[in-house]
Symmetry: D3
Subunit: 160 residues, 6 copies
């Protein structure tokens, strides 16, 4: 679809660890959902820019479920990587874990598929991005599911 | 479904206006998607707590599309209201606009459906919430669409 | 006084809602007065820029009384609008309410009159602003009181 | 008026220096008035708590004029001290300077008189505070002007 | 030295990635050294708490050199792990890299040795910590150097 | 060493006072070491820029010990001044105190020697700085110790 060399997800993998502070939480001590989404967006943006070699802007978040609360004093741990790329758009997959740092007990709290558009900084217009070259079984599964997710995004935009 | 008196969306409507500052934006001056989602979560949480009369925690965000960039120095304007409630869960609808404050030009940039669970602060368990009593045509349309959106959330959770 | 078309306060009305987080409060859980003043300034600045169609800088705050404490977990709700304009200066009126979100109980905690000067971004000099065209009785009362407030500001500046 | 030993303003003097960062400023690079007021409140609160020996909450700000803009990269320098005390209330005077750090050029940008109420942390009620014992001519002048400023505050509250 | 089971550094390894935002930098666009130190402390604290199984407080930073500037829009990447433990104290080693996200070019900018003391949350007193069981050559080298670094810390404290 | 007029440390002395807020502390209520280091860097940077008359970037922190914890609601008080200058580098000494504001009880918690390099904003290259002219016995002692501290910094950089 474009002539840039394919890149493996390995090159765009981001590991992020954030200590949950009082201002990240609501009055009953649970981390605010919006703070989790902010961290997801930061991790995913870094993955997207690494893959694109250009600035990227957030285009969409697929639906996100918060399976477990995260508490003040716990660590919020994120892992993100690029799963698929179109002509100028990039899909990034992010997994979020909460860790009770003292016990090491870790819960898988959220997964998110986000999309970004690469921007040519000289023109401000969308810029072509390299294709994705999955290397592991897991990466291939995510890559193969991408067209279905993309079709669903197109469909939901058509509805609105 | 419960014996609490129904409440109209009017009582949970939240208007929020935020000036976009440099730290809210990426290096090319576009507001970070995660900051928009954080503001959406704050507005929606206040709507949900008003409706529930109890603390609420974010349970999910349906998919969100960012239709237009928002720039440093613009206003990010949000309007949220409760659309539907189950036994202990609440759906909140949020619309986001970007405004060039000097010209008054305003773009509709994002809509979001989020869900919250009410928490009994004494037990930390989910607490019953009042039903929603829509008053306008628009509120009735949102109310009627809620069961379909809820079914889709159930389905997607089943998949994972 | 200038040839710009008059604008009604309606066009500069700003609604702001902020959840009070731990870092907004002192160790006994009361929202810091300076945080309230910061939110007042943000709401008023947006009203002023809307009216002026140009960037605006804060010129003064009239005296402000804090009638009731606001607590962590409450909402701080602000409503601001332009009340009067001179050649390059604008008066903005802001009302602040605290809301116990769970009970809906709301207290009027503060009112503030602030003034701003519009700036021509090309020259950095003060820029002419449109006159104010009050539409409601309340707006007319605020408009009519503005000259007296302005005289008091002039007098107090003369003293210093 | 109470039997606590008088304290000189010297014991409550606070020196504060803040580097103005991008998020403290509006899009044309001027420090937001609300950020200046926030710093004034922080310095004054520390002065008040030192004098009272108890937590204090902001009760009022007398009118404040911003004489000169402060820019990103400059230092915002504050000096605050207690000037007068009633039975449970304290008046604090704050002066604000902007400094171009590289040239050392300093402008006097704002002065503020604020009042605080001391709180007994056990009961949450107002707590008696020591009288003020001015030591310098400047402190005596501020002390003597306090009753007039207090009368004006009483009068303006009566009006509202 | 204590009877807790030894733990390998692998279990306390923390990966952190932070996008450098405008408020993290000085007016010439370089990341503030204090922000880098803050991130080092956060990563190291999480490593220390993981190793100790208890809250930990920062006791010291050995000298830190900033070899290269980090710029707004770059990623600040940290890797920390526990290297050695005494009776109640823990040494943590942190490496900091700056990455130009678009080009993938990465510079090693800083290394830091920090120490923490574990705290028993019930008593507020120092709590015993497990010994460290290095597994790799690199970990053994760091472990063996720890006694010399500890002797230097003791000596410098004696001087003051 | 250069022809700029010597400047006394008096001209670069910075007094900083910060109220410790919830987000500055860990879950057991102790101020995070990294926040203290951030404040040290801010105070020292202002001292360095004042002395240099140019922007300055942090080059190093000598080892730092945290002798006492600082708690939420206390004041963190810093005093910094330039102690010595080379051709383009500046040494700044910072002392940190914690104050229980209500009792006035103050503990000396940390001292730090930091170095900065002055930058010519036109070229981005290191810029010459004035020599330091100590005026008090204390300043002379710090000045005389600087060459020894500098030799140790050189030695430790050689090791790495």
């Amino acid at each position: 679809m474009n002539e840039l060399s394919p890149k493996p997800p390995r090159l765009s993998t981001v590991d992020m660890t954030e200590l949950v502070l009082p201002n990240d939480a609501n009055p009953i001590g649970n981390m605010l959902g919006g703070r989790v989404l902010h961290f997801i967006d930061m991790a995913a943006a870094i993955s997207a820019i690494r893959h694109a070699g250009n600035p990227c802007v957030t285009a969409s978040f697929d639906s996100v479920d918060f399976h477990h609360p995260i508490h003040i004093g716990e660590a919020c741990i994120l892992k993100s990587k690029v799963t698929w790329a179109g002509h100028t758009s990039i899909e990034v997959f992010v997994e979020v874990y909460a860790e009770n740092i003292r016990t090491g007990q870790r819960r898988h709290t959220t997964t998110a598929f986000t999309t970004f558009v690469a921007i040519d900084p000289a023109t401000g217009k969308p810029a072509p991005v390299p294709p994705v070259a999955p290397e592991t079984d897991d990466e291939r599964r995510l890559f193969e599911g991408a067209l279905q997710r993309r079709a669903e995004r197109m469909a939901r935009r058509g509805e609105h």
